[in-house]
């Protein structure tokens, strides 16, 4: 005799019982509630991050204008990689894209010094360039980045010797997309040795050093604000997709649950009726 797949409600043959489907339905419904509320939370955080990005962008591009308007040498052999990410996941491809870009760069020219911001990037990169880590920062992503955070990172970078700093970060494009970019920042020696700097009148080395240090912090701050906006918008769309998928799964499971329930009722009716007719 062929065992009907619909009659699995007695638990025969490893098919789903009514109880199993009920439990799965309950857990998927919970998941949908969680992802839906995560989406709303990141929507609120994103609105705040996007608002903060506007002055940060004007500030950061202004600070880096000297590098933009002049061609300083950023091809130095002794470069420090600064990878910007955060501690929290469930944000789509943000952290893995940073990891991909770093791995690609490492394949081209091996990285010798790296400073990692964010536990996620650290976890991805520790196997590839773990021995080059100069320091790692965490506690990133819970609260919005402040300028003091950027100052701490800049201080750490400046405590090492380098020719160039390469900042890998997620640049915010719009609410549905971001680009993972690599931004080179020249060192003080690189700027001082370039003839273009003499266009600027009466700049003594103390002022230039001041400018370099402050601008590094400004550029790091700007990049972190871009990362923040990219991450929150990416998390928003990831959670929205998860909620949509959970909704579809709930529909499919509900249909299966109803079919199974009707099959149980039909089976019980048949047994009662055939039992009754056997007595006659």
């Amino acid at each position: 005799a062929v065992v009907s797949t619909q009659s699995g409600h007695y638990g025969r043959g490893g098919m789903a019982t009514l109880k199993d489907i009920e439990m799965r339905l309950k857990s998927v419904k919970n998941m949908k509630k969680i992802t839906s509320s995560m989406k709303m939370v990141s929507a609120a955080k994103f609105a705040r991050a996007e608002r903060a990005l506007k002055p940060a962008r004007a500030y950061g591009t202004g600070a880096a204008s000297l590098y933009e308007k002049n061609d300083f040498d950023t091809s130095g052999k002794d470069s420090v990689l600064l990878a910007l990410s955060s501690d929290r996941g469930l944000c789509g491809g943000i952290h893995s894209n940073v990891g991909k870009m770093v791995k690609a760069a490492h394949a081209e020219t091996p990285i010798t010094k790296a400073i990692i911001v964010g536990d996620k990037a650290k976890a991805i990169l520790v196997k590839v360039i773990g021995d080059t880590f100069l320091s790692c920062f965490n506690n990133v992503g819970k609260k919005p980045t402040s300028f003091t955070d950027a100052l701490d990172i800049a201080e750490e970078v400046l405590s090492h010797d380098y020719d160039t700093i390469n900042i890998v970060y997620s640049k915010f494009k719009n609410i549905v997309s971001y680009n993972t970019e690599e931004k080179p920042v020249p060192s003080l020696e690189s700027v001082e040795s370039n003839a273009a700097i003499y266009v600027y009148d009466e700049v003594d080395s103390e002022v230039l050093r001041c400018y370099q240090e402050f601008t590094l912090a400004n550029i790091i701050y700007h990049s972190m604000k871009e990362c923040e906006a990219s991450e929150q918008s990416s998390r928003m769309s990831a959670m929205e997709n998860a909620t949509k998928n959970a909704g579809e799964k709930i529909d499919a499971l509900t249909l299966q649950y109803n079919r199974t329930r009707q099959a149980v009722i039909t089976r019980e009716l048949i047994e009662i009726i055939s039992g009754a007719s056997a007595l006659e």
Partner: protein
Amino acid sequence: MAFRSLVVRSATLCRRAMATEVSSNTFPLTFGSPNKSIHDGSHVKQVDIPSTTGHFGILPNHVPTIAALLPGVVSIQTEAGDVQKFFVSSGTAQIHPDSTVMIQAEEICDLGDIDVNAARSGLEAAQSKLASASSEVDKAAAQIEVDVYQSMVASV
């Protein structure tokens, strides 16, 4: 016919000359702090900044330079003619060869928002901190506090 075209041509030349005169009267200024952008490329007539090499004013076509800011008042004369004054804690300024000016200040405060009494009591607290500071780092930090408060009190 020829005379008329000559008149038209000289009129256009006059207009073009006047147009360049107006635009060379102002220069684009980007002035902000990490969380507040005051000007983002808007055209202004003059900016006065407190720098380590002295308090100086910037007009269009100023010689390119890079300056570090001291705590003090940044005064901006906008294209419309009104004067904006802000207190800045510190920062940097760049004047580029194309006459664009970028100023990054760590903290910007509208001059009207400063409470003189709070600034004076802050100055006294900072001075006592400087007197009691022991390490070089503490002394330097306290000195910076004193400088900022002194400048704040002087500016209102």
